[in-house]
Amino acid sequence: MGYLLPGSSTPTSATPRRTPGPAGWLLLSPLLLWLGLFVVVPTLLLVILSFCSRDPDAPGRVLYAFTLENYVRAFQPTYLKILGSSLLYAFLTAILCLVMGYPVAYFIGRAPEGRRNTLLALVMIPFWTSFLIRTYAWVTILSNQGFLNGILQASGLTSAPVDFMYTPGAVVLGLVYNYLPFMILPIYGSVEKLDQSLIEAAYDLGARPWSALVEVILPLTRPGIVAGFFLVFVPSIAMFAITTLMGGGAVPTVGEVIQKQFTAARHAPFGAALGTLLLLLFFAGLWATKPRREPEPID
């Protein structure tokens, strides 16, 4: 999140970095205090917990004695496999959201200014209902005696109910459905600021629509794409409510496994180790996709 820090949000890399003055720090202090107390401290506690053992006499209790046991266990094939499949689901979700969300965001961003807010409101309306209720709605649509199978059978397209629920497809559908707005909004932000004259210039210089898209539009909206990708990918990895409701939990996800360590399994240190590994993975991902310094600022 380094590039989101105030003072580093200047659009060109040529301008020297501005650091906030005393008044700036004062204004920032509530945020810094909040981040420190509710992000940094809990994260540190999680990391410390991941190196602790359990009290053999009362397993719910944590013993502050150093051990690497939790990490050794986290690298067992079972947990690596679970992590792998969770990453795959999340990646697939982010890609599908991108493919479906980009045209929508582009359409809204290029729509007449008066209509944009209405269109954006339409994107956000589902958020007025709890995501759990929206997910349950999908259960009624997809189940064997549900709405979709009813239509398919009434129209004679299928003779027996098709299994839609409790499949990997249902999981991805649930994730894409819930996270799509998080892809559309940041891309919309980039598209809205896109200078129409640059696209016209591309056409004037003989670009076909495809190359105008690939060489001008996509690079200029890259920040929105990257932000949207992370806003979808990161929460998808650890999401467990949708995967258990729509996937039936046949293949556990890493979020579900972590949650169980803190509850039924009563092994908080192991859950903390899995959580810490996930956190490291996020940092690695952020670092790998860190926006490169562009040689020529566009303004």
């Binding site: 397993p59 007025w128 259960v139 299994d163 409790y166 998080f182 932000g189 980039s190 009563r266």
Partner: protein, 359 residues
């Protein structure tokens, strides 16, 4: 590293606002529990979700003037963790039998003053003095139940009498089981005739062998509402809580209930007062209120588990009493066994089940 455009930044902010708005929505109506207010007119109840009917709570408030603040949990361990962490001040909790045993062992419950709970006499003898609290010094049963089999008679033609008949290759992809490692391992231990409360490396290895074949056949793991997948036709048979089983039988006559011949888990959910309680008198008044026959039947109507109250059973309809999932026969009752606290084995059990599910 700062090419993110201000517009994208603004969109991110919008997302953040959106996300927080969404969180507020998902959190739902919450009852604030503050430390400061210390009036005898308040009772803080920490109970399972979907277990204490609102009508019962309203009736109690109407009668006593005590405002009841309800907070819910979805598992015993969630409740234990909150109590152990301290800071949460509840007057009444609702632990299952093995959790009650653990809370007593850890000295986290207050002894009950039976003089304030005269309705205790209404309880059926089989629910009094059970192994987890032999003298009922710290807990009073709220509801009991078993873990049994429900199957769709139209789709399952072979006889189903026990766990061994559920987990056969013909039923692959048609089974729902609780999303609960201990229940899953208990099915295998009961099937093997091994003790369900003494879990060691040998018995766990034996259970693992059985579950390796069984869990491959499971389509859905669901503890919250296993009846959904059955009633929607997504699965044809499954292992469900008896209260859910009773609701399925009430809703559709396509289904049948079987108490596994190998034996099964009997759970007893209790009311108990944590050490940190501030309104012990109110909590005991609530327990006594719950034990009134006319109140107890309100719970049975909404959540048809095994009502432990003999006087209440007299007020239930013949149909309610005839529901085989709600009220097991004497002979079936003898096959049931309660859970005891198994300590560190909980993590080993979770490891085995997670491992097999990820195969």
């Amino acid at each position: 590293m700062n090419i993110i455009r201000p517009s994208a930044f603004a969109a991110l902010l919008a997302c953040a606002l959106l996300a927080t708005g969404c969180d507020k929505k998902t959190a739902g109506p919450e009852t604030p529990i503050s430390r400061e207010t210390k009036s005898p007119g308040e009772l803080r109840l920490f109970c399972w979700s979907e277990y204490v009917p609102q009508t019962v709570i309203d009736k109690f408030t109407e009668e006593t003037g005590i405002n009841v603040y309800v907070e819910n949990y979805a598992s015993n361990e969630e409740m234990l963790a909150k109590l152990q962490a301290g800071g949460a001040l509840y007057d009444l909790v609702q632990p299952s039998e093995y959790a009650t045993e653990m809370l007593i062992k850890e000295g986290m419950l207050l002894p009950l003053n039976k003089a304030n709970i005269p309705n205790f006499k209404n309880l059926a003898p089989e629910f009094v003095g059970m192994g987890y609290d032999p003298q009922n010094t710290h807990s009073v049963p709220f509801m009991g139940g078993s873990v049994g089999i429900v199957y769709n008679k139209e789709r399952i033609k072979t006889p189903v009498n026990g766990f061994g008949d559920v987990f056969v290759p013909e039923h692959a992809g048609r089974i729902v089981v609780p999303d609960d490692a201990r229940e899953i391992v208990t099915m295998a231990l009961d099937h093997l005739g091994l003790p369900i409360n003494e879990i060691n490396a040998d018995s766990l290895a034996a259970a693992r062998t059985v579950l390796t074949d069984w869990l491959k056949l499971v389509k859905v793991y669901d503890s919250d509402s296993p009846k959904t997948a059955l009633l929607n036709g997504d699965v044809d048979l499954g292992i469900v809580w008896s209260g859910e089983g009773a609701l399925i039988l009430n809703e559709s006559d396509k289904f049948a209930w079987v108490l596994p011949r190998e034996g099964a888990h009997l759970f007893v959910d209790n009311l108990a007062i944590p050490k940190t309680a501030r309104n012990k008198a109110g909590a005991e008044a609530f327990i006594n209120f719950i034990l009134r026959p006319e109140v107890s039947i309100l719970i049975s109507e909404e959540f048809p588990y095994t009502n432990p109250n003999t006087e209440a059973r007299k007020l239930l309809s013949p149909e309610q009493l005839a529901n085989p999932a709600s009220f097991p026969t004497k002979e079936e009752w003898a096959r049931l066994e309660i859970f005891h606290d198994i300590g560190g084995a909980a993590s080993d059990i979770d490891g085995v089940v997670t491992d097999l599910r990820a195969q």
